[in-house]
Symmetry: C2
Subunit: 327 residues, 2 copies
């Protein structure tokens, strides 16, 4: 069975999903949908149409098995995912952890009423990191969870710096503190403050004549974003920014450490090192899109998360192959 994929939104994530389809032989891209002028986009895939997002909503539903929604979590997805779940099986990467319960409820209602499967918050955090937090708690019931992010670019923090007066461009890297990681790996279950776990490094292109000391002060004292961290600020030229900081690498570490009933320590570590955050995220989304298609074909409906997906559903291989090759 070929899974017909539609992509809604053509930013970094949408372009990553489009490219990732070429690595998944059981999938076919049937269309990219945009809220921009379709004529303004040129796809990488020959022969695939760019269409208006409105086409998904007007007339009869299109022949799409799973719609991969590539929007932002702040304002796009809370509106988009329920809306499109009324007409399609959908998947998103909603990543505002605190609002997941209400997003789930809104999507579950619409998907359930309309007989579709929706999977929210796929990707790597939430997503694969969430899975490893859950697994760790089940296998080491009495222990401590640790999540470290980076080294990688935080787009939210980069955007926050760009809003400062006199800043033309900015890139923020989140860096895990290696000593803290090593302490966790040792099984000593340390209590770590926010400042002890991560540092932040910011590269800024300042406007001609801008007050770099004042920019630095505004960055390192910015509430929530920087004030609880040790932050280093570097001023560079736009040329250096474009040459050295155009990628979107990311990654991180999830650890669970604790004592078994005997007192013996167990440490579980999961880590990702990604040259491209959106490319990996969209590849994970496609694997979960496969699971959505399979759950829907079984007659399931409603909202799901990565916690509800049996791992075999992520693979194009049959169960016998999985048992003999991967078990």
């Amino acid at each position: 069975m070929t899974i017909k994929i539609g992509i809604l939104g053509y930013g970094n994530l949408g372009r990553g999903a489009e490219a990732a389809i070429s690595q998944n032989d059981d999938m076919e891209l049937v269309g990219v949908f945009t809220r921009r002028d379709p004529a303004s986009l040129t796809l990488a895939t020959p022969g695939v149409a760019v269409r208006s997002a409105q086409d998904l909503l007007s007339g009869a539903p299109l022949d799409i098995d799973v719609l991969v929604i590539c929007g932002g979590s702040a304002t796009d997805l809370p509106q988009m995912t329920p809306k499109y779940a009324a007409r399609y099986n959908v998947i998103d990467s909603f990543d505002t952890h605190a609002h997941i319960p209400e997003h789930f409820a809104a999507v579950d209602k619409v998907a359930g009423e309309n007989g579709h499967v929706a999977l929210i918050s796929s990707g790597w955090d939430p997503g694969l990191f969430s899975l490893n937090r859950l697994f760790g708690n089940c296998f080491v019931p009495q222990g401590t969870d640790y999540t470290f992010w980076g080294p990688g670019v935080s787009q939210g923090h980069s955007d926050a710096v760009r809003r400062i007066d006199g800043v033309l461009d900015a890139r923020q890297y989140t860096l895990p503190v290696e000593e803290a990681l090593e302490e966790v790996r040792s099984g000593s279950n340390p209590d770590l403050t926010t400042r002890q776990k991560h540092t932040r490094e910011v590269f800024v292109v300042a406007a001609e004549g801008a007050d770099t000391e004042e920019i630095t002060r505004q960055i390192v004292t910015m509430p929530n974003y920087f004030d609880e961290y040790d932050t280093t600020v570097h001023f560079i030229s736009q040329e250096e920014m474009d040459r050295d900081h155009s990628g979107l690498p990311h990654g991180g570490f999830v650890l669970r450490s604790g004592a078994m009933a005997s007192g013996a320590t167990s440490v579980i570590e999961y880590s990702l090192k990604l040259d491209s955050n959106p490319d990996f995220t969209s590849s994970v989304m496609l694997a979960y899109a496969r699971a959505v298609a399979r759950m829907s074909s079984e007659g399931q409906k409603g909202c799901r998360t990565v916690f509800d997906v049996a791992p075999a559903y992520l693979s194009p291989r049959d169960d016998g192959y999985l048992r003999s090759h991967f078990l």
Copy 2:
């Protein structure tokens, strides 16, 4: 709901499972069953009976939700798991990778015909390492798999050394080669031979007057076990063996490395560092026993593996809690 657990077999794994029940509030140990004389065993849990394994098979089935079968893979489990799956939901840690398909078929037939759920090959390899091999292949479709074991005690290799003439006691450690691990972590996708990935270190207590050079020669040239590895042999006293080598630590690393469609490299790493292999393995088995109880209560039947279990089924927490705390 309290899950009533029976434990069959009271070696390292059975004792680990017994202890692990104290860390799982939704579980209750209803009995330990043995093929030895029940009077010869003293349990760590007060008020729980040691009974003959035969009691599981004669008369009406006992009130057990899941029977945790703690036997050896070579000869015990191929017989035991199908036999007990006829009367109970069961779980085992069958770890002879090459024979998993036939074990699955035998267990599936009996469990399916008798309306029970059986989960085979739980633990960490097969088990959690298998999950990570599967996940890696789904999220990085074009890449290379690497599994490194250790540092840890291989009981099979220790037993093999003990069978050599003049050896009174032996302990074999499998050690991953750090340089090879680092090469994989770099994303360079190296081709690695068996010898490049692991070394072996053996501690031997020799009989008085034994030919230690001959023992060493027999160890390092032993086909399948040692001949493809660089092996170091140390002769120590029984006192040193008991003092320094009584634990059963183990662990290892599963890595998946490859290029996304854009060419960007992704490296996924999963690792375990376990002071006690049997204690952790039995803790994992209990989490999967919870899933077995839940799948059975839903009316499922037949054989399952870790690939078939939605992660939420491993947790005693409800889905809403999991979404708000772990996602």
